[in-house]
Each structure stands twice: as structure tokens, then as C-alpha cells.
């Protein structure tokens, strides 16, 4: 049962249809690689093209569902305007993140791989509890152990983190803002190099350098 079709248009329609079914069924974002693996009768360019057309169609439709690109994959999501109604349906309380959870997440996201001690230095507070919570919520995971005395655990963010925060990948984290933009102003003299910074801070190197080795 192969669907070899001659006309490109026909095959795009077909591929689009298959992708739509796959994404509809999946409860996690499906990567292009995965799609290609499943649709092995078709070549990658065709699939990529069909995906783009499908996304366009959903975009143009102005419906209640969008085809979002998150966590290195594609996923159908409801549109933001309908959030309130969906919440009524599923009767969930809108999940909120505490300030400490957000701070810790931000630090892990931008600075991974990072140890608990480094997180605590940056936050100035004990962060064991909040790290544990984030681990439980699968937003943060243990990447391994750092090769320094004591071999402390190092943490990084998960695929779920990207999903929840609607990020395509870690590179799409917004650039950290400079102190001048933050309202905590000072005289704008030459800023000294920050102790934990890895690279110069004005450029995009701010973004975490981890390639997504997410599973």
C-alpha cells in the first residue's frame, strides 16, 4: 500500500492530510524527523513543504486551533483567546508559577548546565525545595554530574519546559536584558565582567549554548 503519486500537488495534499492526522493524535510535539520516519514513502522536502502549507492554512483559517512549532516539533494548540473557555471545559485551575519557581527556571534555562550551588549563588537563597518541585514537574532534569570536587549534580531544562513555555528550542529564549533596560538604573559606566558569565554579555552568546539533546 504505497501512495506513490505523480503530481506534486496531489502528494502535498495527501501528505498534509497524513500529517494533520498524526499531529491530531499525538499528545506531544512531533518533530520533522519523526514525521519523516513515519512518512517514509515521501521525501523530506515534500514533507517539509506540506507542513508549511498546513501551517499556513491553519494560520489563515483564524480558527480555534493553531499549528505551533514548539520543543523542536509541531503540535496543535488552542488559540490564546479561547483559553478561558477551555479552562471552563477542563475545569483546571490555571496553573501558576511561583516567583521562586520562575526565577529558578529562568536561571536554569539560561545557564544550563548549572549546579544547585550556582543557582543558589545567583538567587541568594536556598533553592533545594524549588529545584525538587521543578524536577517533579519535569520542567528541569538532571543532566549529569559536574567534574569538580564533590561531583555535584548539574541541571538543565526539559522538553516539557519548552512545551509549557511555547519555545521552539533553547535558542529561542529571549535575550537577557541589560541592566540599563531593567529600571534598576545606575550611572552607565563600563560594566565589569560578571563572575559567572561565560561570554561577553552584549551579544547573543547570552543564550544557552546547549544543543538540544532532548529526548
Amino acid at each position: 500500500m504505497r501512495f506513490r503519486t505523480k503530481g506534486r500537488a496531489v502528494s502535498t495534499t495527501r501528505i498534509k492530510s497524513i500529517i494533520e492526522s498524526l499531529l491530531f493524535v499525538s499528545d506531544v510535539p512531533v518533530s520533522l524527523d519523526r514525521l519523516c520516519g513515519i512518512l517514509d514513502e515521501y521525501d523530506r522536502d515534500e514533507i517539509r513543504n506540506a507542513l508549511a502549507v498546513l501551517r499556513e492554512e491553519y494560520g489563515a483559517r483564524n480558527g480555534g486551533i493553531t499549528l505551533a512549532e514548539v520543543a523542536n516539533g509541531y503540535q496543535f494548540r488552542t488559540v490564546e483567546e479561547n483559553g478561558e473557555y477551555v479552562r471552563r471545559l477542563v475545569k483546571t485551575r490555571a496553573s501558576r508559577f511561583s516567583q521562586s519557581a520562575l526565577e529558578t527556571l529562568a536561571i536554569v534555562a539560561y545557564r544550563q548546565p548549572i549546579t544547585r550551588a550556582e543557582i543558589e549563588y545567583l538567587r541568594g537563597v536556598d533553592s533545594g525545595g524549588v529545584i525538587k518541585t521543578l524536577l517533579e514537574k519535569k520542567l528541569v532534569r538532571i543532566l549529569g554530574k559536574k567534574d569538580i570536587p564533590g561531583r555535584p549534580l548539574i541541571y538543565g531544562t526539559t522538553r516539557e519546559f519548552l512545551e509549557v513555555f511555547g519555545l521552539k528550542d533553547l535558542k529561542s529564549l529571549p535575550t537577557l536584558r541589560e541592566i540599563q533596560e531593567l529600571g534598576v538604573d545606575g550611572i552607565h559606566e563600563q560594566q565589569e565582567e560578571l563572575p559567572l558569565e561565560r561570554a561577553d554579555e552584549t551579544t547573543k552568546d547570552e543564550k544557552p549554548g546547549l544543543p538540544g539533546d532532548y529526548d
Binding site: 483559553g83 516567583q99 534555562a109
Partner: protein, 273 residues
């Protein structure tokens, strides 16, 4: 720590605090508090008047103590850092030529940390401003994949030892406390009782905890029964479980003749022979 707590404290304590002329917030940590003080006083973060900041910082800590808020050690640690910076700032000020040499400003590290912290605090706000899955946006099977991992099929949970003991305590309390009439009791050994329970369970598959103690008035016999039960648990021959909190405690063989129990992860090691 969490948002609710924060607002709760702020409103509840608003009146009492008015004389301090400060709005008490529960700060995430000492750096958060320092940033707040710097903003409030419109200070230059690169040139913090350390004496002023230290004074205000300590006032806040005292305030938090008065409010019975748990002042974490991190706050106290920062207090001592501030005082240390303050004192070391006093030393070079005696010289006519202040700092600027190779000696680093004692505030430098603190300033770096404050700046760094404020950037992550901002990043946290930005994260929170996004449309979040499970909050504004939904996909199939929300709120998040965490549920997949944590939701195990509803198998009756194994019971904790203390709950079991508690259940036994109730039974023991009900047992009549007759003391007279001391006939040399025909005692039953734990081993014998184990065999009795085993055969009962194999016959019935599922029995209630209380049932084991039915029609037993003799306290020693009750205790023997309970010890036998514990022994059987230890040998993993039986499973003791409870459907709901405070629900009836039930006992079943760890390995059933039939395949009725879907999971035998916990108990099904030993043979019942």
C-alpha cells in the same frame, strides 16, 4: 514563597506596617530585598551607599521577625555580608586618596550579584508573560505531561505499617479487658496462626482485616494474630491494602491463583506454595 502567600501577607499586615512607612512584601531572597531597597531609594546600583542600605536592610529583617515571618538564614547571611562591606569601606576612607587603586571596591561582588540577579528576575517575568501551555493555551492531554508520569493505574495502595498498627490498636481497644478467670490458656503459636490465616486467605482470596480478629476475645490471641499477619507481610506472602483513606483494610494473597491482580510488583516474590 508562592504568590498567594505573598499577597496574603501584604494585605493582612498592611495596617500594622503603616507606621514604618514601608510596604512589606515577602521577598524572594536577600538580593530581591536589596534590589527593592535600591529602587525605592532611587539609588545608583553601581554606587550603593552601603551604610544606608545596611540600615534599611536590617530594619526590614527586624520587621519580618516581628511579623513572625520565618527569616531564612540567607537573609541573615546577607546582613553579615553587608556589615562586613560597610566595615571594610570604613578603612580606606581614612586615606585622603580613596580607592581607585588596584584594590577592588568591597561592594563589587555584591553589585555584580545584584545586577546578575535582576536580569534573571526580569527573565522570570518574561517567561511568565508568555502564553503558557495549560494556562492560556491547551493541547491534547494538558495541563502538562507530568500527569502521564505520575498517574499510575488505580491499584489499591499498599498500606503503611503505622496504619496497620493503628487498625490493630482499635481492635485491641474493643477487646474486653477481662482479667480474672485465669485458666491456663491453650496458647496458639504464631506459626500455627500463620498457617490458619494462610489457609483462610487461600480459600477466600480477599478478607477484611477485622475479620481475622472476629470472635477472638483473648488479648494474647489477638496479638498473636497480629504478629502472624506482620510476619506474612514480611514474607511477602500477602498483600495488605486499602482502597481509600480510612477505608477498610483488606488482605489478599500476594500471588493469586487467578490472574486478577494486575500488578504484583510489590509483593509477588515469594511463593505461597
Amino acid at each position: 514563597m508562592d504568590y498567594q502567600e505573598k499577597t496574603g501577607v501584604a494585605t493582612e499586615s498592611g495596617a500594622a506596617l503603616s507606621l514604618y512607612n514601608v510596604k512589606l512584601e515577602v521577598f524572594e531572597g536577600p538580593l530581591d530585598l536589596l534590589l527593592y531597597l535600591i529602587k525605592k531609594n532611587e539609588l545608583d546600583i553601581y554606587d550603593i551607599p552601603i551604610a544606608l542600605i545596611t540600615k534599611q536592610y536590617l530594619e526590614y529583617i527586624n520587621l519580618m521577625k516581628e511579623m513572625n515571618l520565618d527569616v531564612a538564614g540567607d537573609f541573615l547571611l546577607m546582613a553579615s555580608t553587608l556589615i562586613q562591606i560597610k566595615s571594610s569601606m570604613l578603612l580606606p576612607s581614612r586615606e585622603d586618596e580613596p580607592a581607585e587603586d588596584d584594590e577592588e571596591d568591597p561592594r563589587a561582588e555584591l553589585i555584580r550579584r545584584l545586577i546578575e540577579y535582576s536580569r534573571y528576575k526580569d527573565a522570570a517575568l518574561q517567561l511568565n508573560d508568555r502564553s503558557l501551555l495549560g494556562r492560556e493555551l491547551f493541547a491534547r492531554s494538558f495541563p502538562s505531561p507530568e500527569l502521564h508520569f505520575t498517574q499510575t493505574p488505580p491499584v489499591a495502595p499498599e498500606i503503611e505499617l503505622f496504619e496497620l498498627i493503628e487498625a490493630f490498636r482499635v481492635i485491641l481497644a474493643k477487646a474486653p479487658r477481662e482479667t480474672f478467670h485465669e485458666v491456663s490458656a491453650e496458647t496458639i503459636s504464631i506459626a500455627e496462626r500463620i498457617n490458619e490465616i494462610l489457609s483462610l486467605i487461600q480459600e477466600r482470596e480477599l478478607i477484611a482485616f477485622e475479620e481475622l480478629f472476629d470472635n477472638i476475645c483473648d488479648r494474647e490471641y489477638l496479638v498473636t494474630t497480629f504478629l502472624a499477619l506482620l510476619e506474612l507481610c514480611k514474607l511477602k506472602v500477602i498483600r495488605v491494602h486499602q482502597q481509600s483513606l480510612h477505608g477498610p483494610i483488606r488482605i489478599s494473597p500476594a500471588v493469586k491463583g487467578t490472574d486478577e491482580i494486575p500488578d504484583e510488583g510489590e509483593g509477588g516474590v515469594n511463593n505461597t506454595d
